[in-house]
């Protein structure tokens, strides 16, 4: 197993370097450059040239590439041209912000999605099954940005106007002034801030997971070994959660591997609407501003996560399925 993991990781290195090389040239070949933000009519082209020189953008592309590669290989991502600070300072901050959001929504996606799917499969064609199917379809088809805006409208604005006991914060990661409170209060405040964005980010995907779970579970429930388990007198709970669930997990684990990178990179809309300073908005801003070093650093992180996500789901297959382990 360890040897397998190592092989996979080593195999990923040329893949990552290839991805980074392609992205480097694509982003540099895109029209425009970071000095485009100085678009005052009074700035003369000579000054723009000087800025390009200061940023090293006047050198031939292959030299820029080699320079970037060299500093990248020594672990230096350089300076963000848009934010004017080292990327080594930006990335941990942004990644941690995103991770808080996506981990919570990942929990929502899989816990809620799987539970609903199991209930539906066990009670196939019941009223609950039908209602949940309609609800799942409803949330699955809802555009994220619209759902996010509705959440914020109802649970933040209307809740405060109608005097509800709980008003959820509609933006940011913390209430102004919380930094002087104790740890418990800070944690509670952070969780409150997480509810709306994590729900908006997770609900549609959770509905999708529920559909997959229902399908996979139904397939398993009707197989012989489940009848055997019931026949030997196991409780229904044990049958479902121990015998059936484990066998129905394979497609869900594939989904987990696929969603992991998506959650770290694809939360742009939710991050923007809820003013959550994470990876999604950082990547998009970096691309719009042609902040080359930051584009490269974020691409690297996303590429690594995609590779790791795939690896993780392969490892999890082996954990749940002894047949794969044996190979």
């Amino acid at each position: 197993m360890i040897g397998y993991l190592l092989r996979r990781m080593l195999g990923a290195i040329p893949l990552l370097l290839g991805i980074l090389t392609i992205i480097f040239f694509i982003i540099h070949l895109a029209p425009g450059d970071p000095t485009a933000r100085f678009f005052s009519p009074q700035v003369s082209p000579e000054v723009i040239e000087q800025m390009r020189h200061n940023l090293g953008l006047d050198q031939p592309l292959h030299i820029q590439y080699l320079k970037w590669m060299k500093s990248f290989l020594t672990g230096d991502f350089g300076y963000s041209l848009g934010q004017g600070r080292p990327i080594s300072e930006i990335m941990p901050e942004v990644l941690w912000n995103t991770l808080q959001l996506t981990l919570v929504s990942l929990v929502i996606i899989f816990v809620v999605g799987m539970l609903i799917g199991i209930v539906q499969a066990v009670r196939q064609y019941s009223v609950a099954d039908n209602v949940l199917t309609v609800l799942a379809l409803f949330f699955y088809s809802m555009p994220t940005f619209w759902f996010a805006l509705m959440l914020s409208l109802i649970f933040a604005l209307k809740a405060s106007q109608w005097g509800w006991p709980v008003v959820l914060p509609s933006s940011g990661m913390a209430t102004v002034g919380t930094e002087w409170l104790g740890r418990g209060a800070i944690l509670r405040d952070r969780l409150l801030h997480l509810i709306l964005p994590a729900t908006a980010l997770g609900i549609g995907t959770a509905a999708g997971v529920a559909r997959y779970m229902r399908g996979a579970m139904l397939e398993v429930i009707h197989q012989d070994f489940i009848r055997t388990a019931r026949a030997k007198g196991l409780s229904e709970r044990t049958v479902i959660f121990k015998h059936a669930l484990r066998n129905a997990m394979i497609p869900i684990i594939t989904l987990l591997g696929l969603y992991l990178p998506f959650l770290l990179s694809g939360a742009v809309l939710v991050e923007t609407i809820f003013a959550w300073p994470g990876m999604g908005s950082t990547v998009v801003n970096a691309i719009f501003q042609r902040d080359y070093p930051l584009v490269m650093a974020t691409s690297f992180v996303i590429a690594v996560i995609v590779v790791l996500g795939n690896l993780l789901s392969d490892v999890l297959y082996a954990v749940v399925d002894p047949r794969i382990r044996a190979e």
């Binding site: 450059d33 933000r37 678009f39 009519p41 009074q42 700035v43 200061n54 848009g82 940011g172």
Partner: protein, 547 residues
Amino acid sequence: MNARKGLVGAAAALCALLAACGGGEGGAGGAAAGGPVGQPVNGGTAIVAVKSDFDAFNPVTSTALTTLDIVKDMLFTPLIRYDEKLNPTPYLAERWELSDTAVVFHLRDGVTWHDGQPLTAEDVKFTFDLAKAKETASLLGSAYLTMVKSATVVDPHTIRFGFTAPHAQALDDFWWAPLPRHLLQNVAPSALAQAPFNRQPVGSGPFKLASWQAGQAVTLEANPAFPASMGGRPRLDRVVFRIIPEATTRMNELQAGTVDVNYSVQPDEAKQLQGQPAIHVFHYPSREFTYLGWNATRPLFADARVRRALTQAIDRNRLMAAPFMYGFAQAGSSVIPPISPMNPGLQPLPFDPAAAKALLAQAGWTDSNGDGVLDKGGQPFRFNLITSASNRLFSDVATVIQQQLKAVGVDAQIQTMEFQTLLRAHKSREYDGIITNWTWDYFRADPTPLFSCAEARKPSSANRTGYCNPQADALMQKGLAATDPAQAKAVWTEFAGLLQQDQPVTVLFWAEEIGGVGPRVQDVRMDARSKLANVTQWWIPAARQKR
């Protein structure tokens, strides 16, 4: 999402300082809304929602509008400020002697940097030299200080600036704030844009930087040692700028009372807010004009009559109303801001499709084959109209203009582009017509970069229409050199008249700046100077200081 948010990368980076006066809506901020609130008291935290993160709290390197508002009004002390009528008033400089060739500023005594060091004329000269250094590639030095040649320290509290030539509105060269020499003298000018100072500035203004959580919030706190002669300690303890990119979220927070000030309100939202007694909407003319630029280097638009005809074919009033600007815009004929003292107050060319057709016929454009599109020498009047894909307002406006031009037999093909791609086409003059905007970041009227012949054929210069008229050149030279305001205004009026005839660009409208203020913070005033012009006067009644 909403139209104007799309520009984020670009608009956030617009380098601009609010200037010029006028407009605005009456004084008393939330007082009208919250009933009688008594005498101003100190204390409390105001929360301001802004659209995007700040770039660098450094007057020499920053290029972002909101950042420079904070630099000028809160963190640093510019040499001069402006009153509501846009007359220069003493600030760091308590008085000055202005002549045609130089200005001598006498700095106030007792102003210190936030670290306790005294602020002297050496700091002012250091900042000027830094801005002028070629390696800095500073916007300040290259764009605003072109008419200022040198700085000489006379004594620790006196500094003399020499001009390259006599020019009008010379004091407007000095809106910027000095940087602390003792903290920055070892930073190479080419590395200034990345100096750690920009994120941990030590200023001299009424507020100090307390914290900056990137992408989330910037907290400024009152500077208790701020000299009484310059206004003394601000009334608020703290001002927190929260970064909320989505317009709807900013609105929700303002209405829920979780933020006190929404720094950028969309026109449609402003309309909605105006019906709410608890919210006060400030709006005033900005220095940003939205225009349709005609590429004069293309044969199609080389004839001024054609450009004039197209201007008359566009109903600009319709663009200023709902569902575009909802009335939060002003008509303008010239490219000099309607709020500038140099604005000639010329009426824009009227919307008149019949006159437009006649002019086009004069220029040789007639519909000889009856297909509804004008033609000349067998060529149909068809052109590409490009605009930014991320700005929904612009693409909507383009569609309306397309319809209106069709009515006079002109076929505009709309093409939307990613912003940087658009910019490249614009800069290299590889387009027919473009809908975009300029923001004047200058207190002084200086349209030369946009319209002078010297810039007309230079690659990637600001004269992106390629317009060249020696008569306009002469007028601009005269206007810039006139030191008497009345005389200068006469020249600019003549210039505006000429531009009215030539129409190198069709000014569609001047958008207004809009800010919303909730009921908690009192005495907020926003006008053409800045949305923070009187931030030191903002206060919160004692009963409402705790949230």
